[in-house]
């Protein structure tokens, strides 16, 4: 091609706009365009609030982890059960999730975005006052996820926000259990979702949840954190306290088990961040601890039981080499069998480490993962049970605990010796963390899904209750 000849002027004339998928969890909120393989935007659902010069200010996103603000306190708009509690703030957090990385603060006025030539004298004076402010999602359909036990009121409120506040042209609300099953490429599955504040078991059949079988309990990642805290409190030579990085100025290397030598930072008393901030930052250290140290006893049998060859499991666990961990203040220690104990109560309620100060009540046997699965299966038709057991989908970031799927497999084989049990747990960390988002991304990009959207017109006609009829 001769570089001096101008190209033919075929122009793009379409207006293809991909939908936005918003998947909100207790710990993080995921947002991205449908059709992509990971959410572009991942933000903590937590937000910070502080006041400066008498003005209340809010911070969203990761920024709060890096530089604290004076008197900062941390809040979460979601309730521990995964249902929105503070709607105003949930709306703000969600808005941040898709505006920060996806759409930008506001879709610009096409007259002023520099892409269109406005001829002189053609200035649209008549446009003024019609719609002075473009709504945030005026040109993107929106698919949102919800837990299987979301009440009708919350669902209606969600579609109201999407339609009225954000002006989305089309909306759909999908159960995150169903989405996780789709992400694993299954229309029917038993979805075991180990999240931050909840673990849930959702039977899905032909893309629909079987509502009677949905089970959930609060033994999620935050519960494991509370168990780790309990372990630290009862630690042998001296109790371990977590000092987050933001309080530390510098540290000096110490030997294992030795008291830390650290220079702490001092904040002026009126500027010290709130204890909720400290808890959030401690949680980051704990998640590092979970990644590096914590291990699920792989089975067979409980940690407290005896193994197949007559040796108590605890003895076997003790003989495994320990794992070292260093805390932000430099204190470091090797964790032996204790690293199994902190998660054992997910499978064996009796193994919970007692801690009277914990926010979480002592778990009951019915809250453990095997019991939830059993109850979920009891709640569904006998005919579909074998099929569900052959399609157990494990998802949620806390399921990434080392050895979790092995143990779950052992437990299921013990509980259901007859039917074939088959666990599918994606090896890719992102697929496990963002299972329900990925399912939403797949769903919203399907051509056949187009008829499922609730359009703005339908919403105007039928009101918010349409979500109950259409999104089953």
């Amino acid at each position: 091609m001769n570089p001096s000849i101008p190209p033919s002027t075929a122009e793009y004339g379409g207006d293809e706009v991909s939908a936005i998928v918003l998947d909100s969890g207790y710990s993080t909120t995921r947002a991205g365009f449908a059709g992509e393989d990971t959410p572009k935007s991942l933000i903590p659902t937590y937000y910070g609030r502080y006041s400066l010069d008498g003005q209340e200010k809010l911070v969203f996103g990761d920024d709060v982890f890096v530089t604290p603000r004076p008197g900062l306190s941390v809040h979460n708009p979601m309730g521990r059960d995964g249902i929105v509690e503070d709607w105003d703030m949930a709306e703000r957090v969600w808005e941040y999730a898709f505006t920060s990385r996806l759409t930008g603060p506001k879709s610009g006025n096409p007259l002023q975005n520099g892409l269109n030539d406005v001829l002189e004298g053609e200035l649209p004076t008549d446009m003024e006052g019609v719609e002075s402010e473009e709504k945030l999602l005026a040109d993107s359909p929106l698919l949102m996820s919800e837990p299987g036990w979301n009440p009708t009121k919350a669902r209606e409120k969600t579609i109201e926000i999407a339609m009225e506040k954000w002006g989305t042209p089309a909306f759909y609300l999908a159960r995150n259990g169903v989405l996780s099953a789709f992400a694993a490429g299954k229309a029917s599955a038993l979805v075991v979702d180990i999240g931050a504040s909840n673990i849930s078991v959702t039977p899905v059949h032909d893309g629909m949840i079987l509502k009677r079988g949905v089970q959930h309990s609060p033994l999620g990642g935050d519960y494991i954190s509370s168990q780790i805290r309990a372990l630290f409190k009862s630690n042998a030579p001296q109790p371990i306290s977590i000092t987050p990085h933001y309080l530390i100025s510098s540290k000096t290397a110490v030997d294992a088990g030795q008291p830390p030598q650290v220079k702490l930072k001092t904040f002026p008393p009126d500027r010290v961040p709130d204890s909720s901030y400290r808890t959030l930052l401690e949680e980051r250290t704990l998640s590092e601890f979970k990644e590096c140290v914590v291990q699920v006893w792989p089975g067979p049998n409980k940690l407290s039981a005896t193994g197949p060859n007559g040796v108590p499991n605890e003895e076997v666990a003790k003989s495994n080499p320990g794992r070292p961990f260093e805390f932000p203040d430099g204190y470091n220690q090797v964790f032996g069998i204790d690293r199994y104990r902190v998660v054992e109560s997910l499978f064996d309620a009796k193994a919970a480490i007692p801690d009277p100060e914990s926010l979480f009540p002592t778990p009951s046997p019915a809250q453990t993962v095997p019991e939830l699965i059993k109850n979920a299966l009891n709640g569904v038709d006998v005919d579909v049970r074998p099929h569900l057991l052959a399609n157990v989908v494990v998802t949620g970031a806390s399921s990434l605990l080392y050895g979790f799927t092995d143990r779950l497999n052992q437990e299921l084989m013990q509980m259901f010796p007859g039917p074939r049990v088959r666990i599918s747990a994606p090896g890719n960390t992102a697929e496990r963390k963002f299972g329900s988002w990925i399912g939403g991304s797949i769903l919203a990009s399907l051509g056949t899904f187009h008829q499922m959207w609730i359009s703005k017109k339908e919403f105007d006609e039928h009101g918010p209750n349409i979500v109950e009829k259409r999104c089953k």
């Binding site: 091609m1 001769n2 570089p3 001096s4 101008p6 190209p7 122009e11 793009y12 207006d15 991909s18 365009f33 990971t38 935007s41 502080y50 400066l52 990761d62 982890f65 530089t67 604290p68 603000r69 505006t99 920060s100 990385r101 975005n113 520099g114 892409l115 406005v118 530390i248 100025s249 510098s250 000096t252 290397a253 030997d255 294992a256 220079k263 990644e291 590096c292 914590v294 291990q295 089975g299 080499p321 320990g322 070292p324 260093e326 470091n332 090797v334 032996g336 605990l401 080392y402 092995d406 052992q410 084989m413 074939r420 049990v421 088959r422 599918s424 747990a425 994606p426 090896g427 960390t429």
Partner: protein, 666 residues
Amino acid sequence: MPPFKDEHILIIAPGSQVTLAQLGLPESFTPARFRFPTRMFPAEKKGEYEPYRIRERRQEVQVSNGIDAPKDDVDMKDPESAPQEAVKPETTEKPEGSEQAGDAQKPDGQETNGEAQQHTTTEIFYEEDVTSDEGAVYPLQDGRIVDWPCFFALLTHVHNTLSPPFHTPIMLISEPVWSARDRETITQFVFEKFKTPAFCLMDSALAVCYGYGTSTATVVDVGKDKADVTAVTDFIVNEHGRGLSLESCGGDYMTDRLVELLGSKGFTREMCEQLKRSNITELLPPGTPLPGAAATARQGANPATSASTGSTDGNGSDDRAPRGPGEDTQTGNGEGDEDEGVLDVAAIVSGNTSEFLANRERERAEKASTKKGSGVDQSGKPIRLPNSKKEKASFQFEEYVKIAPEADVPNGPGRYMRQTREIEVGVERFLAATPKQKSGERLTGGLLEDIATQIHHTILAVPDATKRSELWDSLIIVGNGSKIKGFTQTLLGTITQKYILSPSATMFTSEIPSNFSTPLPTGGTNTPAPSGQAGLMNHPAGHGVNPLLVAATHANNPAPGTPSMDPMSLHRSTGHSQTPTSVKTLRPPEYFSEWKEQTNTNAPGAAGAGGPGAPSTGHGMEEAVFLGAQVASKVVFVLDQGLSKGFMSRVEYNENGPSAIHEYTM
């Protein structure tokens, strides 16, 4: 589509201050040939922009009365005749029209050009005022696009100036902070306005990786008023946990801090800016005592690290010339200075470091005080101390001083003269990165600590935990904000004292079980990278560890993989060890000779926005993003030719529209 040629590729890398651009790839990649200031001026017509300030100049017909005159400034007719051309010999090398010369070579706030107000009636001339940045619109702020029409006008200006042929693929370097919608808008603009046959929008962090020839790195880009921290693994940018446009973590922070420290001593912001760019300003690693009497005011003294600095850090080469006359040279040390720079490192290492250094400081202070009493006879002696040991040092401050217009030419061009004078600064010059007093609404521990925290956060957010150790060992620090001497070392020092794990936490210590006799090496630094042997020894605990060792230690604990399970589920994210055990920076590639670090001057505008065509000297690897853009252009447009979807072609744009760019965004 015919293949693209090297000489047709257009590369544009917009930044908040300077937009780098180049047409064609040279034989050996060079720093950007064109440097445009990232700013435009509103034109007469609303919504249009000009690259230079346009002034109306009216030819006077009547006598000036200066009362009801419109506010029209009269400025130089032709920059060629302006006197500052004489002091800028580089203009002769400019490939571009020299009427654009000298743009922004003047410091801010100097353009009170001949405000001779005339009552005018006829003949309006428009002329470009190439020296002024008054009323300029900066379309990028902290990397964010704040003014789209202006940004597009800038792109058009760059495109027009370089005037590429039609068959020109365009490589645009995108700021990390741009949202998906921003990228779509830019794509639409580029395809529809420039009619380009192929377009690649590459993330700046990724471009840096191309420049360094590495697939995995933590890229820290320190800009004017922000820093971006990005973890790149296997040429994939990790969006989650990425540090985007960290507020007040750029070069301006250091200027602000210097203003805060020195403002009371009569330093203007411009002086502090030049002081920051001069080679006497330096960041000292944490724990290094400040020279002179300020030994008490240490920067968070840490005896463990102070021994590593001192005379060994190679600053001896930039000894200052003898101090000029007229300066207050007597506050420094005279006689004993020759040996001051040679610290007995052995004594420091073996003995009690802090005590040793404290004694030294005391001795020196005593010496200085006795000397003050004794007289002033040693003033002429050259002082051969490394900068970091000198209590005071001076730099050359350059400023443009307006020459009073000659009386007979009241309408003549405003003339400037470049003046330099020496200004002496104390230890404040080492404190540029220390916490500001007025930190605003952030509880920040200073520039470096914020960046260190962000690096920790970003690397911890990388989902593939086995890569984290490698990320800590491959830091790349780029951006003109990081040009200040000692920035990298000080940042590494900050990370070390806050985040590096003690060896005992990474080694099995006293609690080694009996079957475990070999201690683990610290981290994965000496052991082979785990990526190559993933299939060989797939034990989750074995990352970064000798596979034989893993086999030995886990022999009694086989991974209980059940045959019915998905084989993929054997892969674990956990079972790795904690990071960082070490932190290092990557070495820049050595085969691009033009990119070798060059000495920078503190002339105003030297590192800032030169005019287009200003010679790009003094820009080394802190602009690695542009080197990477060239490498990537070569790979994407010439070698790969779109086979691996490295760029979006016009055909694809016509079919799928701007949102398809996300499939190609690199």
